[in-house]
Subunit: 325 residues, 2 copies
C-alpha cells in the first residue's frame, strides 16, 4: 500500500482515502467487490490522491474531509481506466500482480471498470459544477489520448509534440486536475489554483516520461511489471522518437523493422531496447523529464516559502524523477 | 431515429434530447465522435428519455430544459453500457447495424464506451445530490446485474426470482430511475415520485421480458438483430426457465444439452427455440409481462385523471407489450 512506499506528511489522510475507497466498492455482488479490491488493493502509487492532498494542504486547506472524498473519487476513476487499459493493451501484469482481466476474464474486468467509474463519479458528482466539469473534461481527454495513442501505434513518424500531447491527455491532465481541485477545495485564489494546475501538469509529464524510460531501463522485479512493453505493443514513446531521429541510419532502419513487426520475438524486443539505449535517447528523455519537474517546482513560487507542504511538493517532484518503480 | 418510431406527445422534447446528445459527444478526436455517433445515431428506442419526459410532464413539470439535459445523460450512460455489453456478449448486430466493436475494433469501442459514460456523468453530475445518488446507484446495480448474469450463464437451475432480479438490475431500475427523476424535476410530492418509480419499474420489467420473448419469436429484419442470441450465449431467460420446468422430461434434457454445448451449430439454436416455443413458455412469459405492465399502469392512479400525459404513459405500457421490434 501507498503509505509504505512514500510519506509526504499526509500519511493519515491517505489512510482515510483508502478507507473511503474500500467503503465505496462494497457491492451486493461479491465478485464485483473482489475484483475491484484486487485491482485497488494491489497498490499503486496513489499519486493522484497524494498530489490532491498536498496541494490542498499547501494552499491552506484545513478540514480535509471533502478532499479525502474527492481524492478517493479520482483514484477510483484512475483504477477504472487502468483495468480497461490493460484489456486494451493486453498488459499481463499490473502493480506486481496478474492483470485483472487475465485473472477474472475480460467480461468481468470490463464490467468492474465500469463499476469503478460509476463509483468515482458518484462521489465526484456531489461537488460543485466547476469540479464536476474539470473531472469530466480530463476524463474525456484521457479517452481521447487513448484513442490517439492507439491510432498512432507503430507510426514511426510520430512527432515529439504529438507524443507530448498524448501523454498530456493520458497522464498529466488528470494529475493536474488533482492538484487543481486541491487548491479549489482549500478556497485558494485563482492564481494559486492555476499554479497548482501547472504543478500537476509538470509533475504528470515528468512522471510519464520517467515511466516510459523505466520501460526501457527498469528492473521488472522492482517495477512489478515486464519491461519492453512499449516496443512490444508498438507504442512510439519519446525514447523511440529520439532513437529514430538521432541514431545511425542503419540502426534506425533496424528499429523501424522491429517496431513494425506484427509478431515480435523476445530477442527483437531486447534488440530494440538496446538500440534505444545506445542512441542516447534515455538521457535526452530524462532531460525533458527534469525540465517538466522544474516547471512543477517553479509553480510553487507563490506558496508561502515556509510552508511545510510546499517543501513536500518539491520533494515529490524530485522523487518522481529518481524513482525506480 | 426515435421520433419516427413513436410519438407520445413529446416529439419536440425528444428532438432536443438528440441535439443535446450530439452536442455532448463532440470531441477533439474525430474517431471518438464518429464511433459515438455511429452507436447513438444508429437509433434505439430512446425509452429512457421518453419515460423521463412523460413522467416529468405528467407530474406537472413546466420548463423541460433540465429534464432534457438529464434525459440526454441517461441515454449517454445507456449507450455506454450497450457498447460494453456487445463486447462482452459478442453480439454482432445492434439496432440494425454491425456492433461498434466489430466495425471499429474492441479497443476503440471500449474507450468510446468510457467516453460516453464520462459525458453522461458530466451532465448528471450537475444535478442535486439525490439525483446523482440515484443515477449512480442504478448504474452500479446494472454492473452487478451484468456480473450476476454472466456468472449464471448456462446455469439451468436459475430460478425465476433470480432471473427477475437480474433483469431488474440490468433494465428495470434504470428505467425506474428515469421516471423517478422526471417526477423529481417536476417538483412532485414524494407519493408521486414513488409512483413514478413504480411505473418505470413495471414498464422496464415488461420491456425486458418482451425483449427476451422477441429473441425467440421475433423477425430478425424487424428487430434489427439476430434472434436466438440468448440460447447461443447460454443466457437462461424466463422462457428457458419455463421450458425447463414445464416441458416433457425428454425435451427438457435435450434443451439442457443444447444450452450447455460450448459450440452450438445453428441447427442446435433453432431446435432449442422450437422446444421453448412448444413448451408454452412464450405465453407464460407474456402473462408475466402483462402483469408488470398492469403494475405500471396502476401506478398512474394518483395522477390527474384528465392529464394528457397520464394517458400517454398508459399507452406506452400497452405499446411495450405489443411491440415487435
Amino acid at each position: 500500500m501507498m503509505g509504505s512506499i512514500w510519506d509526504f506528511g499526509i500519511r493519515e489522510e491517505l489512510v482515510e482515502v483508502e478507507n473511503r475507497i474500500r467503503e465505496s466498492i462494497r457491492s451486493d455482488e461479491p465478485l464485483l467487490t473482489e475484483i475491484a479490491s484486487y485491482v485497488i488493493e494491489g497498490g499503486g502509487k496513489r499519486l493522484r490522491p497524494t498530489v490532491a492532498l498536498l496541494a490542498f494542504k499547501a494552499a491552506g486547506g484545513k478540514d480535509p474531509t471533502q478532499m479525502i472524498d474527492l481524492a478517493a473519487a479520482f483514484e477510483l476513476i484512475h483504477s477504472a481506466t487502468l483495468i480497461h487499459d490493460d484489456i486494451n493493451d493486453g498488459g499481463s501484469m499490473r502493480r506486481g500482480r496478474v492483470a485483472a482481466y487475465r485473472k477474472y476474464g475480460v467480461q468481468n474486468a470490463l464490467v468492474t471498470g465500469d463499476f469503478l467509474y460509476v463509483k468515482g463519479f458518484a462521489i465526484g458528482g456531489k461537488f460543485s459544477a466547476p469540479i464536476v466539469d474539470l473531472t469530466a473534461t480530463v476524463s474525456a481527454a484521457l479517452a481521447e489520448g487513448e484513442i490517439r495513442q492507439k491510432k498512432r501505434s507503430g507510426d514511426v513518424k510520430l512527432a515529439r509534440e504529438e507524443y507530448l500531447d498524448i501523454i498530456k491527455r493520458k497522464t498529466a491532465l488528470p494529475i493536474s486536475a488533482s492538484a487543481q481541485v486541491g487548491a479549489m477545495l482549500a478556497g485558494a485564489d485563482s492564481e494559486i489554483v492555476s499554479d497548482m494546475a501547472d504543478y500537476g501538469y509538470g509533475l504528470g509529464m515528468a512522471f510519464q516520461i520517467v515511466d516510459d524510460v523505466l520501460d526501457v531501463t527498469g528492473d521488472p522485479k522492482t517495477l512489478g511489471k515486464p519491461v519492453g512493453t512499449d516496443v512490444r505493443e508498438a507504442n512510439v514513446t519519446l525514447l523511440a522518437i529520439y532513437a529514430l531521429n538521432n541514431g545511425s541510419s542503419v540502426k534506425r532502419e533496424e528499429l523501424i523493422r522491429i517496431i513494425r513487426r506484427k509478431r515480435k520475438e523476445e530477442e527483437h524486443v531486447r534488440r530494440a531496447m538496446e538500440i534505444i539505449r545506445d542512441s542516447g535517447a534515455v538521457e535526452k528523455a530524462l532531460k525533458d523529464a527534469e525540465s517538466f519537474a522544474k516547471h512543477a517546482k517553479d509553480s510553487l513560487r507563490h506558496l508561502p516559502a515556509d510552508s511545510k507542504y510546499r517543501g513536500e511538493m518539491s520533494k515529490l517532484a524530485d522523487f518522481v524523477l529518481k524513482r525506480d518503480f
